[in-house]
Symmetry: C2
Subunit: 432 residues, 2 copies
């Protein structure tokens, strides 16, 4: 049997997908059954890194999503529109969807999955998280027997590259960002990466799959890495930590009243933790479940080859199911999101975590007493208080807390901020 | 729909499987559709860590594999017989098979898969390699779009624990083995683990899946860790390496004339390599493919919970396919081994790798010249020659080669062995 796909987009990932499909020898035998029927792009005149018949190309993407010959629409445009509308239109026309677009799924997943469930088609998205690292399918299939306790990931290669460089080269954020942009590891407008938005899209998707409930993207708490300084990376190092941008989903299903923590922020990770050694543009996702314990998936989180590998594996899956001719809907619990209810998210104030805070202060002995009093009053217990250095005439004091309620910690801080002896609180970070 | 399984064995893994199935809340909804119909064990009187109706138990395992009510037989007995015969009998009776028994699959996989293909049933084995780490399904499904270049794994927890302890405690093999046996990390008869046989079973299975050809288990070259000494671990450390028992499958499909390297041996791994930091009982499998690049899967390679997680995921997969009512054979390229041909294995003499060798010798300046001459004659080029220490009156010289043909290296060694100045060659190890 032959299956026809329509490619929306022939950029980095689309080109990678086409290369695999045009060169099937030595790959899974299903690849031979897939042909590229149409390709939708913005420019017909661009020179492309792959030879495809010009007849396949169109700039009218509507033609592809409504083409009766096409079985599977592969959306690799990026961005919210026209991706969202084209996906919905394709579903309406009975096409199965494969996409690597985390932004559109994280924001419009509900609308898209509702439409797909009604139309009886699949929407697969392995490429959207972790590039070539198999994580979406394993989470649904291989780990499905577990109750998932947590999913913690380094899911954005740009920020991991920047933090790794800042750590290894003792360099500042702005310099490293500029260099990353030059090397093509960061985009001209780095906001989505650097402010944690891309990581938040991804953890929203992983949480929804792992914890079996819908997640509102706007409810993911999100802090980026702009405020991480070389000073803090250095102090963290001396205290036994490495700073990483983590995307965290934590909860326990099994009890409907349980809530889920969902957050993206720079985090002090103990050096012995498996995520501490994930450097550069690599991604890793650590899943903890019962009775599984911990498993970690590691690899390149982006790039033409890795992402295309994931996209083509999704196409293969759909092709296998279509060829079986069975009632494909029964395979859904293994492949896609079928849940209707929303996960109950813990508000950030109620979250319990450890904190790292750095204070600049005028009068050290006095301040340590005051810190103790203020933290104590708000039930914040301290794991360590260290005076590590001086900046100008000010002493630098670093505090690491035990697990505390974020709300209590913030109250203590606002009290401390008003102390005469405190000059400023340049950094507040969470500790894993 | 409800699906009935027959459990052969209710030991460590069988108990873990039963626990998951009896407590489905918060897990994949498919789990609720699976019921335990019969349980086969050796002793009816044993007290067990799980409450199952005594009516379910039998010691006549034949009854289970021929029971017309049973859809899936889950073999968790271990060992070659009666596992092999029961699996074949179950297949003959139209049952799908789930097993965690790497020994039986590595040795009788051909017979079992041939029977299964004829009978139109599945034989799934996620639990057989890497315990709870999803690797079999990801290799077939998520990585299926790739040409696999290599699969390198730390797939035996016992030996990794022993080597880690030897490294961290600077202890000798025998002492650490005795301690591991006390802790339950090594069996009373440690042969299968310590001599690399278990790892060889596993790499034979992974290679067959990854490279799409059958593999004869007896053709896997296999060296265990008994000859690894604290002295070599120490020298390796000073040269920037950690010694690990690696299971290696390397080749490139895409060309039928290509051959596959398949071997298990202690290996010097550069400290910066992702596998170097996998310690204790943990397992990790590193897969390299085109266009994917590297991905690594990491987790606990054994134990009740992790292995049961993998076994139940296989049961879930079959249940999903059975409920779809389609022609399940078409899903095979994603799930199981369908290939008929044998992989063409590289004989160990033809293998190219780097070597580490340690020499004890009487006359240092003379020896270094002789070593150079003998290696040169056999086209073995040296990366480094270091004299590191003395033992009694003998100088200890360590050599690391560039990539060389194993045959050439062995010829040079046998010449060197006969040199007057050479007292002995206590260790020869391969370098990654
Ligand atoms: N790049 C990665 O490493 C990576 C990794 C994981 C996920 N992803 C996701 O994969 C998707 C594609 O990324 P990419 O890097 O391949 O993007 P890209 O290189 O920018 O390519 C986008 C493609 O879509 C076409 N396109 C965009 N908007 C269009 C419009 N309105 N009408 C017609 N054609 C349009 C472009 O046409 P022209 O060629 O004519 O300009 C181009 O071929 C995104 O959702 C991204 O988040 C990418
Ligand atoms: N344990 C692990 O961590 C692990 C990890 C990966 C894979 N595996 C694989 O999983 C399989 C099971 O391992 P396990 O550790 O669960 O073994 P186990 O604890 O020794 O349990 C074996 C079970 O099979 C039953 N049994 C054995 N031979 C029998 C026979 N001839 N007739 C009837 N019953 C028999 C035993 O009955 P009684 O209970 O009456 O003695 C017991 O219930 C093996 O293939 C192993 O390689 C194990």
């Amino acid at each position: 049997m032959a299956f026809k796909i329509g490619l929306l987009g022939l950029g980095t990932v689309g080109t990678g997908v086409a290369k695999i499909l045009l060169d099937p020898v030595g790959r899974n035998p299903l690849i031979k059954e897939i042909t590229i029927e149409r390709v939708g792009v913005r420019s017909l005149s661009k020179t492309r890194d792959i030879s495809l018949s010009p007849d396949l190309f169109t700039t009218t993407l509507e033609e592809i999503v409504t083409d009766p010959d096409i079985d599977i629409v592969v959306e690799l445009l990026g961005g919210l529109e026209p991706s969202r509308s084209l996906i919905l239109k394709a579903i309406e026309n009975g096409k199965h969807i494969v996409t690597a677009n985390k932004a559109v799924i994280a924001r419009y997943g509900e609308e898209i999955y509702t439409a797909a469930n009604e139309a009886g088609v699949y929407v697969l998205l392995e490429g959207a998280v972790g590039g070539g690292i198999p994580v979406i399918k394993p989470l649904k299939q291989s780990l499905g027997a577990n109750r998932i306790n947590s999913i913690i990931g380094i899911v954005n290669g740009t920020t991991n590259y920047i933090l790794t460089q800042m750590t290894q080269e003792k360099a500042d954020f702005d310099d490293v960002l500029a260099e990353a942009q030059k090397l093509g590891y960061a985009e001209a407008d780095p906001t989505a990466d650097v402010d944690g938005l891309d990581a938040a899209d991804k953890i929203a998707i992983l949480a929804s799959l792992g914890f079996g409930g819908r997640v509102k993207r706007e409810d993911v708490y999100c802090e980026g890495i702009r405020q991480v300084s070389a000073v803090d990376i250095n102090y963290a190092d001396r205290l036994g930590f490495i700073i990483k941008l983590l995307a965290i989903a934590k909860g326990s299903k099994g009890d409907a009243s349980d809530t889920l923590e969902l957050r993206v922020h720079p985090t002090l990770v103990p050096k012995t933790h498996p995520l501490a050694s994930i450097n550069g543009v690599y991604n890793a996702i650590l899943v903890e479940g019962e009775p599984l314990g911990q498993v970690m998936f590691f690899g390149r989180g982006a790039g033409e080859g890795p992402t295309a590998s994931a996209v083509v594996s999704d196409i293969m899956n759909i092709v296998a199911i279509l060829s079986s001719g069975g009632d494909s809907k029964t395979l859904e619990p293994l492949l896609t999101c079928t849940h209707q209810h929303y996960c109950n998210l813990t508000p950030i104030e109620a979250l319990e975590t450890r904190f790292y805070a750095r204070f600049l202060c005028r009068d050290v002995p006095g301040v340590i007493g005051h810190l103790g009093t203020s933290f104590g009053k708000h039930r914040v217990s301290l794991e360590s208080v260290v005076q590590i250095g001086f900046q100008d005439n000010l002493a630098e004091i670093v505090v690491v807390t035990h697990n505390v309620k974020e709300g209590n910690f913030r109250q203590a801080l606002s009290e401390i901020e008003s102390l005469e002896a405190i000059h400023s609180i340049p950094s507040i970070l969470r500790v894993l």
